[in-house]
Symmetry: C2
Subunit: 327 residues, 2 copies
């Protein structure tokens, strides 16, 4: 039987609205057994329609040659990229050899899932990874990364191309290992205005997608604060565009056009509300999704927040599964 998550990604009819939940990055879980176990939890505990690999977008820059430190305030590159020579020193890693623990986790999860639900692999988008690699850590405004990439078009292209090449190999290896869908996270997309995103963001995502050896696996792109970028994201070749909670889904549909599915976009804070109030908000998202039509996967508008009560997440999944999308 086809999985309803996959069917919805390709805008085919489904019996119930599929749902899965994004979560905060799993900081560098390099033990495949542990990564596999954590990946399965939401499926076992909540009954979601897809599992997402427990991993971190920053494993790719690390494999490209950057030292990565895990600090309490978040991961850091103690020697961020500072000059063209630093970029030239980066290499495009062989994923089976240098990121083998990710592929091993995928194989174990697939085995443990026994095809109950599909497994989603993922990576960070080129702009988001480049921003981390230049800033060295997360940032409020990414001015170092923006200044570096906006000031020198050739340097920007050199770095973003190298990351893109690494991501193509990495995602194709995930597909080969058994990933049944892929999501590209452009977490810092919203740091760029639309004209900069059209040069530094979207084209490199498009190049990643163009070079994927997909065979029935849908590709999702998701970013935060992407209201003005949705049309560009839809034009990358992705099958599904994720929407944060700032743009109502019917409005988002107007921006992405009819040819992609939508994913989103309940405000993650809704899961901290009393259940009756949460239910109203879930119903409203479902109503707007029906209005938006043409393929829909329920999700939060961002990762599930730490401290979210399990009973709220369970009630959410139950309510979404009680909903049959209008055709």
């Amino acid at each position: 039987m086809p999985h309803r998550f996959i069917e919805a990604c390709f805008r085919r009819p489904v019996d119930k609205t599929p749902i899965w939940l994004m979560r905060q990055a799993g900081r560098l879980c390099k033990t495949p057994d542990l990564a596999a176990e954590v990946t399965l939890q939401p499926v076992d505990i909540l009954g979601v329609d897809a599992a997402i690999l427990f991993s971190d977008i920053l494993v790719v820059p690390e494999a490209m040659g950057m030292q990565l430190l895990l600090e309490d305030q978040g991961p850091q590159f103690p020697q961020p990229l500072a000059a063209r020579a630093d970029i030239d020193k980066l290499h495009v890693p062989d994923p089976e050899r240098e990121l083998g623990y990710v592929m091993e986790a995928i194989r174990r999860v697939r085995k443990a899932l026994a095809n109950r639900v599909p497994l989603i692999g993922f990576c960070g988008a080129p702009w988001t990874l480049a921003a981390y690699m230049i800033e060295g850590k997360t940032s409020r405004s990414f001015e170092k990364a923006k200044a570096a990439l906006m000031a020198d078009e050739r340097l920007a292209h050199a770095l973003l191309s190298k990351i893109t090449d690494a991501l193509i190999l990495y995602l194709n290896a995930q597909l080969a290992a058994g990933a049944q869908a892929l999501q590209i996270f452009d977490s810092w997309a919203g740091a760029l205005g639309p004209e900069d995103y059209a040069r530094l963001g979207a084209p490199y995502i498009a190049r990643v997608i163009q070079n994927l050896k997909v065979d029935g696996q849908p590709v999702i792109v998701f970013g935060v604060e992407t209201g003005e970028l949705l049309a560009q994201l839809a034009a990358t070749g992705a099958d599904v565009v994720g929407v944060d909670w700032r743009v109502p889904l019917d409005e988002a549909r107007g921006r992405v056009g009819p040819a992609v599915a939508l994913q989103g976009n309940l405000d993650p804070a809704s899961l901290f509300l009393p259940l009756p109030e949460q239910r109203k908000r879930v119903a409203r998202v479902l109503e707007l999704a029906d209005r938006a039509g043409a393929g829909y996967v329920f999700n939060l508008g961002h990762g599930i927040l730490p401290g979210t009560p399990v009973e709220n997440a369970r009630a959410l999944v139950e309510q979404v599964h009680a909903h049959t999308p209008s055709r």
Copy 2:
């Protein structure tokens, strides 16, 4: 001679495009002499067309009865609002008595400015202040504040109304002390989706503006990540709507309509670029502003970033002043 900043706010013709720069909050500068001195610096050093009072939006919650600590990571309320009783204990401060140092700074700046350029007073918007007061500090997702205000409409109204009452007195006192324009900062507007903003954000800003005793002083509203909120901001009764760098000004015009002026929206990271590249970006903003028409004040899309080179800021002001807006 009328000030070109004021003229542009009211969509009247100007000789040159006016410009001023927002900056990061001045953390609780309670010495009127020092506050006055810092307020004058951008006017003296850069030649901008308006001065903005060096103060902090959190002085109002403090005067309402909350203890405020200045920590290295940013200001904190060690005892954030946790229950209805905490809200009932807050009081609406008498601004001349309890925030007299702000009024005194305004009087001193006005004197020192000797009418060279107008002085802008300001406050935080009710939602942004409420979010700080419930979270206790800045937050990535404001889930505590959202959960509290979304879950209990009466509690939300009680808190937001009390803050609104305080802001009305506070801004009217600023006008009486000599403020020649007012800006309301809704820094965390973008944490709310449009339907929540229509309940918790915009109506309280509208109530503040409705109750201002203005006599020729324009009112500006500005928030970050407000792409989907621009129409609501324009409907608050403000004369000017500030736009962050995510929405091109011609697109913003479509959302706010013709009856308000626009302010913004150069990406603050542009001031870290080599001057020729910065100039291209400034020229592009001016081009879109001309296209947007109907009243325009140049500004960054957010506060000026720490570490911005003075020569870049000077070159920016010079270039904007060389531009005569098309009619």
